[in-house]
Amino acid sequence: MRKYTPTFLAVILFSVFSLSLAQKLTFWHYWDGANGQVLQNLIDQYQEENPGITIEAVFVPGSELVSKLQTAIAGRQTPTMAISDLVAMPFLTSSGALVALDDYISESNVDMSDYFAGPLVYGLRDGKRYSLPVSASNLALFWNKAIFAEAGLDPDTPPETWEELVEMAQIIKEKTGKWGYELFTQGGEGTSWQWQVFLWNKGGDVLSGDLSSPAFNSEAGFEALQFWVDLIDEYEVSTVAPWGLFGRGEAAMVMDGSWMTQFFPMQVNFELGSAVFPYPEGGEIATNMGGEQIFIFNTDPETQQAAWNFIEWFSSTPVQVEWDRGTGFIPIKESVANDSTYIAWVKNARPLLLPFVESMPYANPRPPVTKYPQISDTLANYIVEALYGRMSPQEALNTAAQEAAPLLR
């Protein structure tokens, strides 16, 4: 027995010693499948470059992440850092549990002017920044080349304007009997965030500049909603139906997300193209934007610093190039979007993604307010009222604004 004692002691001492050196950071995220693997590979690389730091990436399903974080904050059992869908950022910053990043940023090599403006409006509270964008996705036009050819249209020329979209959709409807354009008519965020693109196309905005009142019930809003109603009633190229017509080859055009450049080719049996979303003559190019933000929870200065070091590395251009190539996410920084390796990869491996990357400078953020989900549902609900012909676009948007206004106080 005694023979082992010194060894035993040495082992314990060594463990204590190395534990005090090694720093373990937990990182909650919802990137599954291939994306999760890309993240793990990057973390492995970081750990190799930084001995003594262990990052434990914990996968939490996307639908549960925010409520898990909510529980973690309430129970003071937060991870070191986490990501979240950008829409939840105003909610998360309201917790007071996140670390302000301004000092870390100013002392680091992170160049804020390199970021696209859109994602940067999230994570701000009382003039301080609590999160950084790490990935993005956005919306653009997909078209079915087979239907275009069947209707006698050039399968390689998508519409550039709303007017062309209507014109082509009508030809398609007439020649093939198929729907020209698929609208998201089921309400909720799907309807809301697609319609916002049309609103921005017309030069409108969702909320007033100071985010204190609804602004979607403007002339731009009425025209954008009238356009949706006209697609159904006037031009008869769209219909109120469960989402999925385009994927089944029953509609020729659709607005969908950058992630579909990966999924559509696996799901559909027709050739498809993608393009920057059409805008009205005299209007503006626009798209909506999703994506994730990364943030650190309040702990001790050393742990926070260690977490920041990882974030700084993860946000660096070479790592982001790797990240976006592996995941198909849209670059959040201009230096990544203009990186020659990245562009070469898009052109060769994922040409459908190119219009999305090009759309990023025109990506508008959904209003970064805590009550956004409720405002969005309200807006979507009245958009659907107009699509079902129960209200005029003016009446629908004015009522929605009336209901949304108290939520912003």
């Binding site: 909510q70 007071g96 309400g187 109120v240 139906a241 659907v384 009222e385 079902y388 129960r390």
Partner: protein, 311 residues
């Protein structure tokens, strides 16, 4: 006879020791109850009471600011047209689903109580939906209800009927949810009715037959009254279930179109988990609780009245 006396004697003497023994066993009994008490207390009673407490606050679940608002949440709830819409939708769903599932369950049970070939298979088939996960069933039904590609409308088209667009039609979406709710409930009702039917003595039917009762009269005056206790039990449980319906709506319609399927369960989910209004959502939950409580109370009253009337 000789054996019975010492027994009586023993019982008489054992009375006090038995009481003592019960008392002595109390700690052990409590010990065995402990897991249940702790688990129920931690995961049911404490959260339920905490939720009542939260219903008097305005809180998003993470903010350090949590102002006390008294009865504001309740006041806001009762003055909200959304709430009354949800209540109406829920009541319609509950009533339609409960009545239809009771009637169908009884019919199926009576039919499958007869000597027909393969009845074990039929019973199993009717029970299958009960054990099918609701979310999975909802997804499949969503496909079945698709207006252009769905099996249901294709079948209807085959019989020369243009089917409605179901889940996207505000006047049909709730009907579709009721259909799935009934489909999921019938098997359970059938099993309970079958068990009750097994307990009906044959002699009653024989007596009725001797009195010249027709098959319908035998059903109406023998089977139906004898199934009344089961009917009562099934009505109560079905209504409680129906008032809490959430998953079907979540999967199939998300409360739409135009809030035509925005049942209270989904309304509560929206406020609690999409809009982060825990105080308001707790108030919804308590109003829902009160509602189910009152409905059940009324049913107990009615059933007692019914039983007395029969006597």
């Amino acid at each position: 006879m000789t054996l019975s006396r010492p027994q009586v004697h023993n019982e008489g003497r054992a009375k006090r020791p038995t009481f003592m023994r019960t008392f002595k066993n109390l700690p052990i009994a409590l010990f065995f109850l402990l897991p249940t008490v702790v688990i129920l207390g931690t995961f049911n009673f404490y959260p339920a009471l905490y939720s009542l407490y939260l219903s008097f606050f305005e809180w998003n679940g993470v903010s350090p600011k949590r102002p006390f608002v008294g009865l504001d949440n309740y006041q806001r709830l009762f003055s909200s047209s959304e709430f009354w819409n949800s209540l109406q939708v829920t009541v319609i769903y509950a009533a339609a689903m409960t009545v239809a599932a009771l009637a169908l369950g009884m019919i199926v049970a009576v039919l499958l109580n007869q000597d027909i070939r393969g009845r074990a298979l039929y019973r199993a088939l009717y029970f299958l939906p009960v054990i099918t996960p609701t979310v999975a069933a909802g997804v499949v039904w969503k496909y079945l209800f698709d207006p252009s590609q769905g099996v249901i409308n294709r079948f209807l088209a085959g019989s020369g009927i243009t089917g409605p667009s179901w889940l996207t039609d505000p006047s049909w979406a709730l009907v579709a949810i009721v259909i799935v709710g009934v489909w999921k409930r019938v098997g359970f009702n059938m099993v309970v009715y079958l068990a009750a039917l097994q307990g009906v003595p044959r002699i009653y039917y024989e007596a009725a037959q001797l009195d010249g009762a027709s098959p319908w009269q035998r059903f109406r005056f023998v089977t139906l009254p004898l199934l009344a206790p089961s009917t009562f039990f099934l009505t109560v449980t079905a209504l409680i279930d129906a008032f809490q319906v959430f998953d079907l709506v979540y999967v199939m319609t998300q409360g739409g179109p135009l809030k035509s399927t925005d049942v209270i369960g989904y309304y509560l989910y929206r406020y609690g988990f999409r809009y982060y209004e825990l105080g308001f959502a707790s108030a919804i939950a308590y109003v829902m609780f009160a509602l189910i409580f009152v409905v059940t109370l009324i049913q107990f009253r009615l059933s007692r009245g019914g039983a007395q009337g029969e006597n």
